[in-house]
Subunit: 330 residues, 2 copies
């Protein structure tokens, strides 16, 4: 089958074997999204070699239970060992022996077919388009913030970033009724991020230190922020967040990158800041939110490419003006 | 009056003016403790110049209400503006305009007299010795952890550090009934830290990376830790904590130092770690705990010096075998 693989070099291959795994379902991929984590993996993050991709919608082609064949599904990307305490508690996301679709020890979704345990697959309602269904995985990650940190109408929230994940976080944050400021580099992307609510501020970090950026933000703001979500994936994001957050406030770290971050941790101690790492979320609330029609993700699709055009799709996804790039497979 | 002051150079002076402040109480210092923060200030942390010292017991010498004169007191070290939202909520610890005894814009306790607002002073019960009363401030800081993070009998806790503050954190943690491992460099100090409960492990970080240290700890431990308290003040403390903590676990940062810390923040995201900065605590629970006799702090006093011997006291406090050094003033 065709697949977009990375083995130190990114390339489209035509002869990848079907990724059949014993006891699992084989899923024919309909469409898949390129995430910033995919771009980081190609730069060396996570040391993954194999077929990339973990945001997808597909149709079950083979399954131990034949009645499942033909169902349109999305899939939780973490597949656990089913034996450890995490798996037995029903949450494979932190299983120490987990494989992760397109990220860790498991070929991913930029291919004609992928394999996942049946328990990872969730059938999606017919009102959810294929295009919207690809957003279930990153939307679950955005919604996960609300499971970890209390955000409500009285919260003063800053979001750093206007890219792929930040766009979804902005939509989710706006739903809470909080006072929201989205900070990014691109006016057009910020306008898109705040169309569901909130204000925005263009800050070009290229020529400024995190402290200078913070001064610019705070010169136009009445108060520091109760919650700052760092979703820019930039090395300056966390130091900027630390300069913007209120004493006793919370920083949510959403972005993974493979660089070391230098931090003045005494600020964390003196101001009693809480830093919360946040990764994957539960799919069901994301499906419900997307199916409700309350948030519009179609506007986030910058372009669609075929699997054969995978290399061009990655180039486009890395452009600063791009938001979500989809690979349309079937 | 005599005072131990730092103005880029540490020295005992004999001619410091009495630190009278309008509307405040003048307190005659009986005894004061040297904290790691004092040692850091002398290295340049916090940019403070003036009389050092913030752990003390004393007797009220002058007060707007004369009936207070003669009372034996300890004192909350943060003095707020009384106008901001923090102060109006009754918590000056994060007032943006606060002064802090011996740390920020307010002369401290290594002197014959100090000044604090009457509202900062708390009379201590007669059963609390002067020696134990000096520990109220750092004990409040240790107890504050339990207000921020849930620790109970089912918690698996690691404490990094065996110094001044870590000793108190160990006593407090042992009171919760948690499974406790104290990690430090000094066998004798670790024995002292675990006399109230818990196990200990000697790790000399001088010749090992945080990853190597973590491997040594985990080779003797069944599990990673739900909570890791970093109270070593070492630059390797936080990276070590990050290697020891369970997914979805919590790191409590107790130590301030003035260096930058390099961290692999993607570990925080992928493992969804929470990092909680923790500084000053409330005095009342600390007074109650010390007065209860359930914890013994007398054993933590390495030596006592007079104010005239202040320089020798600081040298002794900086020795790795020392725990608490007291300056006996009156």
């Amino acid at each position: 089958m065709k697949a977009l693989r990375f083995d130190g070099t990114l390339r489209v291959v035509g002869d990848a074997p079907l990724p059949r795994r014993s006891g699992e379902a084989l899923v024919q991929v309909i469409s898949a999204g390129i995430c910033s984590t995919d771009l980081e993996i190609v730069k060396g993050y996570a040391g993954f070699h194999g077929t990339l991709g973990h945001e997808f919608v597909g149709r079950i082609a083979e399954a131990p239970d034949a009645s499942l064949i033909g169902r349109r599904v999305v899939g939780e990307i973490n597949a656990g060992c089913e034996k450890c305490d995490w798996c037995r508690a029903g949450d494979a996301r932190h299983c120490p022996n987990r494989t992760v679709l397109g990220i860790k020890d498991r070929d991913g979704a930029f291919a004609e077919f992928l394999s996942l345990p049946v328990g990872n697959l969730i059938e999606i309602p017919s009102e959810l388009t294929d295009e919207a269904a690809v957003f279930v995985e990153p939307m679950a990650a955005a919604l996960h913030i609300l499971e970890q940190v209390s955000i409500g109408p009285s919260s003063n929230v800053a979001l750093i970033g206007d890219g792929k994940l930040a766009q979804l976080v902005a939509l989710v944050a706006a739903q809470t009724g909080c006072r929201l400021l989205v900070i990014g580099k691109h006016k057009l992307k910020l306008d898109l991020a705040t169309r569901g609510g909130g204000r925005s501020l263009v800050i070009d970090g290229a020529s400024a230190s995190p402290g200078e950026m913070a001064n610019r933000v705070l010169s136009s703001e009445r108060d520091r922020f109760d919650v700052v979500v760092e979703a820019s994936g930039s090395a300056t994001g966390l130091p900027l967040a630390l300069s913007l957050v209120n004493p006793r406030g919370t920083i949510v770290l959403k972005s993974t990158h493979h660089r070391l971050t230098e931090l003045q941790m005494s600020t964390v101690v003196v101001n009693e800041i809480t830093i919360v790492g946040s990764r994957c979320g539960r799919f069901r609330p994301a499906i419900d939110l997307l199916a409700s029609g309350c948030v519009d993700v179609a506007a986030l699709v910058t372009a669609q490419f075929s699997l054969d055009e995978g290399m061009s799709a990655f180039e486009k996804a890395a452009e600063s003006s791009s938001i979500k790039i989809l690979l349309t497979v079937a």
